[in-house]
């Protein structure tokens, strides 16, 4: 019934239109899902929108969520460009937060604020990068499937965090709750905007997005990544060291996820606990993909998905609409996007009639 015929040239309009239409359709599916639980979808979406962008404060909260999404997703883009997969940002984020916390707990009295924060950032990057180096090495030398190894490492990282929080790092003054003590001011990332929670991490995110964009467009490494992504066999034939490139991209990507975890606890939570939002590591995958693997577009998409998350968190409390609506909408958008991409290269025929 459905038939595809190759286009002579790639349709540029569709390439821009398809992601936008996918977002609309994804939102539509979310609306239908909401209707099934007897809530008016228009009310829900209006509430999400107001909850995400309706006041200066919620607007700033949207940016707060966009920060880790952006930091993680631009790193993922490097890996995804090669047609390799890092699904382990969740774990790298946790390990980065743990590494940063070590210094926040042990060096706050001996280091000045700028030095301590620099050390914590580096620790976060190193932690995430090391955690990413495990699957990268396994992939490069033993061909161990990186999708599975990175995901399993996420669970392992989560239990390491739980071990620390229920064990050596639990602050005895917290009545048994698994929390560290609140970080000294020295270990808190400075705020960027008064009376909001927007912190220095925003600058990191924007700078990193630009750097990654330059890496992809202007450097030899970026060129090689693109060649590998387009045709791995050809890349190997032209003498590109694929293993080396995978490892470097994974280290950068893991480092950025680790940095995201670090800035989240240093800039927002001000302590280490079990709930530090590592799920951003999964949402960032969607950001990377929705942005068409373009780090600059990722800024807009991070903001959009950050808003969806903040808005949905609001209606979970006010309208009792479960937070699962976010995953439902995000996955639906992805489905439409993945399915729709074929139209940029192919014409669609239905029962012999050309549709698009």
């Amino acid at each position: 019934m459905l038939r595809f015929e190759k286009r002579e040239k790639i349709s540029v309009q569709l390439r821009i239109l398809i992601p936008l239409i996918s977002i609309l359709l994804g939102v539509l599916v979310g609306g239908i899902a909401v209707m099934f639980s007897h809530v008016n979808p228009l009310t829900v979406y209006k509430a999400i929108f107001i909850g995400a962008f309706g006041s200066t404060y919620v607007f700033s909260e949207t940016i707060v969520v966009a920060i880790p999404l952006l930091l993680i997703s631009v790193g993922l883009i490097l890996v995804f460009k090669m047609n390799y997969w890092n699904i382990g940002a969740y774990g790298q984020y946790i390990i980065g937060a743990i590494f940063g916390t070590y210094f926040a707990l042990n060096s706050a009295e001996t280091m000045s604020r700028p030095i301590l924060l620099t050390v914590m950032c580096i620790a976060g990057i190193v932690g995430g990068a090391l955690w990413a180096l495990i699957p990268a090495t396994l992939k490069a030398y033993w061909k161990v499937n990186e999708v599975i190894s990175t995901i399993l490492l996420n669970y392992i990282a989560l239990y390491i965090l739980k071990f620390l929080m229920y064990g050596p790092w639990r602050n005895p003054q917290n009545f048994g709750f698994p929390l560290t003590k609140t970080f000294d001011l020295n270990a808190q990332l400075p705020k960027l905007v008064m009376r909001t929670r927007i912190h220095l991490g925003l600058i990191f995110g924007i700078i990193m997005a630009i750097i990654i964009w330059i890496i992809i467009k202007k450097t030899k490494f970026g060129y090689e990544i693109r060649v590998i992504g387009e045709n791995e066999i050809a890349a190997r034939y032209t003498g590109i060291n694929i293993e080396k490139n995978i490892t470097i991209a994974m280290i950068i990507s893991g480092g950025l996820a680790g940095l995201a975890g670090m800035v989240q606890i240093s800039g927002i939570i001000h302590m280490l606990q079990i709930e530090i939002n590592p799920d951003y590591g999964y949402t960032a995958i969607i950001v990377a993909w929705l942005s068409g693997l373009n780090p600059l577009t990722a800024m807009i998409v991070s903001f959009f998905l950050g808003g969806l998350f903040v808005g949905a968190s609001q209606i979970q409390i006010t309208m009792k609409v479960p937070i699962g609506i976010v995953g439902l909408i995000e996955s639906s958008i992805l489905f439409f996007l993945l399915g729709g991409v074929i139209l940029t290269n192919y014409k669609l025929y239905y029962k012999g009639r050309k549709i698009i």
């Binding site: 061909k143 239990y159 390491i160 996955s331 992805l334 993945l338």
Partner: protein, 313 residues
């Protein structure tokens, strides 16, 4: 003290089979999906959809086998999204599978809210098989289980037979090894792929339903706890052979049962480190399996993850 230790081992191994069964279904399903050349990373999503569909049906109707069937069916239906995107629309299978997982977790959180912390009045009843259950040691472990566990034993043998001894199996393997050649032979590549992707969904749904109907008869958010990902790892460990699916599933089940028992008894080992063990074991298994597959030259289905476009040939 000897009989005591003996009965503890029996209890442990019985729990191993129960816990392993949750994985055995999805592993078998994914083996066949991957054999057809389709990589479905959405097992976690399909499992949890099956888990909720099964739980909800059992909770509302009280009919436990109907519930199991509904769980299976729900998993199957979910797999069709992935099938349509990967087979007809030739979309990226890795991302589509991830999206399916996110979809499953989202949808079950959304519709499962009203069931959270509720418990089933009846779980799958144990059925003691006369004769077989009296075999020393193995009898009580393997044959004092429920019908679904028995179904899983049969499934392993039947699917092994189908894969290696029937024409259906030959076609399936042909499509997964060389879709173009299979097409030339007259095999409908699309049909084969749709069918076995759907089968993979049914099996993932079955595993999820067994989780909430037999193993832990209550509903919680994200109750599958990463088992879908473990299943995918164990597909490689099984080297795409249904017979070996047993080994991985029960190894995971065993370590899971063991750490559970240790936590129940109360050891000095922190519970977080015990809970980590099944995932850590799977992580080691996937490395070992990859090296084994390489050494023994047992190939991944060569077409795995590659869309097939007929009209271009």
């Amino acid at each position: 003290m000897r009989p005591d230790a003996y009965s503890i081992i029996i209890i442990l191994l019985t729990a191993t089979v129960e816990s392993g069964t949750i994985l055995l279904f999805p592993i078998i399903g994914e083996i066949f999906t991957q054999r057809s050349g389709i990589l479905n990373l959405g097992i976690e999503g399909m499992m949890i959809i099956g888990a909720l569909a099964g739980f909800a049906t059992a909770f509302i109707t009280g009919k436990i086998y109907l519930a199991f069937f509904m769980g299976m069916l729900a998993g199957g239906l979910a797999s069709l999204i992935h099938a349509f995107i990967s087979i007809t629309l030739r979309g990226n299978q890795v991302v589509s599978g991830l999206a399916l997982t996110i979809f499953g977790l989202g949808v079950t959180n959304f519709y499962g809210q009203k069931f959270v912390n509720l418990q089933l009045a009846h779980t799958l009843p144990k059925v003691i098989i006369p004769g077989l259950s009296r075999i020393p040691f193995f009898g009580p472990i393997l044959f004092k289980q429920d019908y679904i566990v028995y179904l899983s034993y049969i499934l392993v043998i039947v699917t092994w037979f189908i894969l290696y001894k029937t024409k259906v199996g030959v076609h399936l393997r042909a499509v997964g090894q060389n879709a173009e050649a299979a097409d030339a032979m007259g095999v409908d590549v699309y049909k084969v792929r749709y069918f076995w992707t759907f089968f993979g969904g049914l099996m993932a749904g079955a595993g999820g339903a067994y989780l909430t109907l037999g193993y832990t008869p209550f509903w919680l958010d994200s109750i599958t706890a990463g088992r879908g990902w473990v299943a995918i790892a164990l597909v490689i460990f099984a080297m795409w052979n249904p017979l070996y699916a047993f080994v991985g599933a029960y190894l995971f089940g065993g370590i899971n049962a063991l750490q559970f028992q240790l936590q129940a008894i109360g050891t000095t080992i922190p519970s977080s480190l015990l809970s980590m063990q099944p995932y850590f074991l799977t992580f080691i298994l996937i490395i070992v399996a990859t090296l084994l597959v390489k050494a023994k030259h047992i190939g991944v289905p060569k077409e795995l993850g590659i869309p097939y476009a007929r009209e271009e040939k």
